[in-house]
């Protein structure tokens, strides 16, 4: 591995640029396909104008897809980093997300009970949210490190399926542990994200005129917040991995553990740190998830975890840039399929099929391009 001087600005601007390209690219492609479908299906419906409905919904669907995409991308980082270092699918990552979400939500519920959230205007509300995200990161990160130490490290070097099965065990154990804790303390196992601040307000971007009907294209403060958090987190991770000594150590362990150990790198410490970073990102994503969907329960991490894994594989597992792209594509696809599936199929197939859609993509990618969209040759040239 050759040394190169790191230009901090470049290391911040590059991931920003990549993110922008990924978002714009996948949004344009998916929108175009959807509109094409709408045009084709237009003659089949006389009760409503499919094209118009599609267009009216489009901005909101895009925003939903992008926020979802950021969350998938952040969760996918945990899978992809651990996979890069250990070639191991950390099945329990979704549960780190869940623990982070509970930590953040509990903090906010407590603050709310103290009356601290009542008066919050935007600035203060931001502080509280950030605190909750940070707490989620601390809790999920520590949990990830503990799990690695207790359950995964003793299995390093065992046949591939052994740690995978243990990870399934960890996933189940953590779900019911949280359920037990919540039930014992609160009597029930789900919690709700307290409503506070001006996040529900909408910022009108512009107004379009559709057949004489003015349609506001607006974005919720909440969505702006989610996107902002996502950008900060992904850029920070990119910087950490590409421009710091720690990042270099992680990359060399990912490349070849034995050689890295010979070069004086403490492999166990680096693996633990990888889990810490991945877990912390997962915890942050958990709080954001709770912010977005308001309800948290012990089983909430499973499906997002599975989808984030899909995103990681879609982008090319082991690649951080790939996980960003995979997350975006999957988030957008899911939001589009949830919104339009029912309209296009005259209500025969509802939004429930969005999960099938995601798994279908996973299966197709694994079969036809297991190295992912950005895997294989492309990353080597880059």
């Amino acid at each position: 591995m050759h040394l190169r001087r790191v230009n901090p600005f470049k290391e911040i601007l590059r991931p920003l640029g990549q993110l922008l390209i990924f978002i714009a690219g996948s949004a344009v492609v998916i929108s175009a396909i959807t509109l094409l479908l709408a045009v084709l299906l237009r003659p089949t419906r006389i009760d409503i104008d499919i094209l118009q409905t599609t267009l009216v919904l489009l901005p909101q669907v895009l925003i939903d897809g992008i926020t979802l995409g950021f969350m998938y991308a952040i969760i996918a980082m945990g899978y992809t980093m651990v996979y890069g270092v250990l070639e191991f699918i950390n099945f329990a990552h979704g549960e780190f997300v869940m623990f982070g979400a509970f930590a953040g939500v509990e903090l906010l519920i407590w603050l709310n009970a103290q009356g601290m959230l009542k008066t919050a205007e935007l600035g203060l509300a931001l502080v509280w949210i950030t605190l909750a995200v940070l707490l989620g990161m601390v809790v999920a990160g520590s949990l990830a490190v503990t799990t690695e130490r207790l359950a995964y490290r003793p299995l390093r070097g065992a046949p591939r399926l052994v740690p995978l099965i243990a990870a399934i065990g960890v996933s189940f154990l953590l779900q019911d542990t949280m359920r037990f804790l919540q039930s014992a303390i609160n009597g029930d196992f789900y919690r709700t994200f307290p409503e506070f601040g001006p996040f529900a307000q909408r910022l009108t971007l512009f107004t379009v005129d559709m057949n004489g009907r003015p349609i506001d294209v607006a974005i919720q403060y909440k969505a702006i917040m989610l996107i902002a958090f996502g950008v900060v987190m992904l850029v920070a991770l990119n910087y950490l991995v590409n421009a710091t000594r720690l990042g270099k150590a992680i990359r060399s362990v990912a490349q070849d553990q034995k050689t890295a150990a010979l070069m004086g790198i403490d492999v166990n410490r680096i693996i633990a740190l990888t889990f810490l970073i991945g877990g912390a990102l997962g915890g942050a994503a958990g709080v954001l998830w709770a912010f977005r969907f308001t309800r948290v329960d012990p089983y909430m991490g499973f499906i997002p975890g599975l989808k984030a894994f899909t995103a990681a594989v879609l982008g090319g597992i082991g690649s951080i840039v790939g996980a960003m792209l995979g997350g975006m594509v999957l988030g957008l696809l899911e939001s589009f399929s949830a919104a339009y599936f029912s309209i296009f199929s005259r209500g025969a197939f509802g939004a429930e099929y969005k999960d099938i859609f995601a798994f279908g993509i996973l299966i197709l990618v694994l079969i036809f391009r297991p190295q992912g969209l950005l895997g294989g040759k492309t990353t080597q040239k880059a």
Partner: protein, 467 residues
């Protein structure tokens, strides 16, 4: 038999020789006595299980062990079951899940392919009979919840017997359809894809109540017909005799309890024989070979894809048959039964018992099923009865009454499954009753291999090796 290896245990040596056989018989009789004193006691059921396990492990001739075991399973259980039908219900469920676990064992234990969506094949069998064995066919055009009840069924109840082989075929076909595209994937990817497939089947079962109502969605399909009982089994004379023995009125519904118990055992018996014979055949050797080293296996002429597909199809077939039986037994199926937790619980059975070990897997299935439907439930019942009383929880000093119902042990299956999986993987990956071959294997490091995608000449072996 692999029991010999474990029987070096000094405790089990007591049970060797004619005296030992007598001792085991005495234990079995003692257990029976405890059960006759209180047919409903959990302790009695656990003792019964311990007696069966003991009989398997003791150093006796297979014929002696078989005789002792058959005595307990074929005579004691039905006899006690007359007074406590729950025992038969547990026996039936153990038979069902042991068969499923044996099927998964063919896939995971013999062929080394981790399938996390195995319950889907069970669902295929169950929904097959649920659809044809109920009135669902006549409901396909009605929106859910607006059913007319008809007096007759499209297929008479005796069709059940034909649907057992059909369920086997349907599930095996499903196994092949799923296996065909995904079997070229590497082990851990295969696990995730099969998990996704299991979820897809469940989502479909949940949502295929529209546009046409095939599954009736989350409400599930009911009533599903049970196979007709032979007339002599429901004759008033027989029922009267049975009632006299049992000391309680026995009706046709109780007879069904016996019927399903024995039918379940019969299918389990067949499954054990088939799994055993396959394991010791050319096909079984091929499975082991691809699990151990797939490159060497193909180089020796073992067709990789076909061998894996056979494992998938045969594993699926076992659970397809049981699915049909299960639907008839419950007279009701809903998507809930086919959750990921169910898939994992079967995996826990296989791993707890011992990957690749037929007796181990059956024992694992018995333990997990007992834990699931008996031990945890009994604890929950105990708790709720405590909740009725005025007592305080020791140490905490809070009245039992205030303990949230959410803390019922029966709700924490996943906790126990998870713990079992982790502990087994760390401390005893070969399981309680290790297979002869796998004993050493799981502690070892895997040899380096040519990437799987390179294996078959018909795959494009392009850029794989470059990275």
């Amino acid at each position: 038999m692999s029991a010999q290896a474990t029987s070096t245990n000094r405790f089990l040596q007591i049970f060797s020789g004619p005296f030992g056989a007598l001792l085991a018989l005495l234990y079995a009789v003692g257990v029976t006595y405890v059960l006759t004193l209180d047919p409903r006691s959990l302790l009695g059921r656990l003792l019964l299980f311990s007696a069966l396990a003991l009989i398997y492990f003791i150093p006796q001739r297979p014929a002696v062990k078989f005789l002792l075991g058959a005595m307990l399973v074929l005579m004691v259980v039905p006899a006690i079951g007359l007074r406590n039908p729950f025992l038969l219900e547990i026996g039936f469920q153990v038979a069902v899940f042991a068969t499923l676990a044996l099927g998964l064992n063919v896939v995971v234990g013999f062929a080394g392919l981790l399938d996390l969506g195995y319950i889907a094949f069970f669902a295929v069998g169950a929904y097959l009979w649920a659809f044809f064995g109920s009135q669902q066919i006549w409901h396909v055009d009605e929106p859910p919840g607006t059913f007319t009840v008809y007096a007759t069924f499209p297929f008479a109840a005796w069709w059940f017997w034909l649907f057992i082989p059909l369920g086997i075929l349907a599930a095996a076909g499903m196994g092949i359809i799923l296996g065909f595209p995904v079997l070229r994937l590497r082990g851990d990817y295969l696990a995730i894809v099969t998990l996704g497939f299991g979820e897809v089947i469940r989502v479909l079962a949940n949502n295929l109540d529209k546009p046409i109502n095939l599954t009736n969605g989350p409400q599930g399909i009911t009533p599903i017909q049970r196979p007709p009982l032979p007339e002599f089994l429901t004759s008033p004379e027989l029922l009267a005799t049975l009632s006299r023995w049992a000391g309680r009125p026995i009706n046709a519904n109780d007879v069904y309890g016996f019927f399903f118990y024995f039918l379940g055992l019969l299918i389990l018996g067949f499954t054990i024989i088939i799994a055993r014979r396959l394991d010791r055949s050319k096909l079984g050797r091929s499975w082991t070979a691809i699990r151990e080293d797939d490159v060497a296996a193909v180089a020796m002429g073992v067709p990789l894809r076909r061998t894996k597909l056979t494992a998938f199809a045969i594993g699926a077939a076992f659970s397809g048959a049981m699915g049909v039986l299960y639907a008839a037994n419950r007279t009701f199926v809903s998507p809930e039964t086919f959750s990921l937790t169910a898939s994992i619980s079967i995996l826990v059975m296989v791993i707890l018992g011992g990957l690749g070990s037929i007796p181990g897997v059956v024992m694992g299935a018995a333990v997990v099923t007992l834990l699931n439907i008996d031990i945890l439930q009994s604890l929950s019942l105990q708790l709720s009865s405590l909740r009725q009383g005025p007592d305080l929880i020791p140490l905490l000093g809070i009245p039992w009454k205030e303990l949230p119902t959410q803390l019922d042990p029966a709700r924490y299956q996943r906790f126990f499954f998870g713990l079992l999986l982790i502990l087994m993987m760390i401390f005893r990956p070969e399981g309680m009753v290790p297979a002869e071959r796998a004993r050493l294997e799981l502690h070892e490091e895997e040899g380096e291999a040519i990437p799987d995608a390179e294996l078959e000449g018909d795959l494009a072996p392009d850029e794989k090796l470059a990275d």
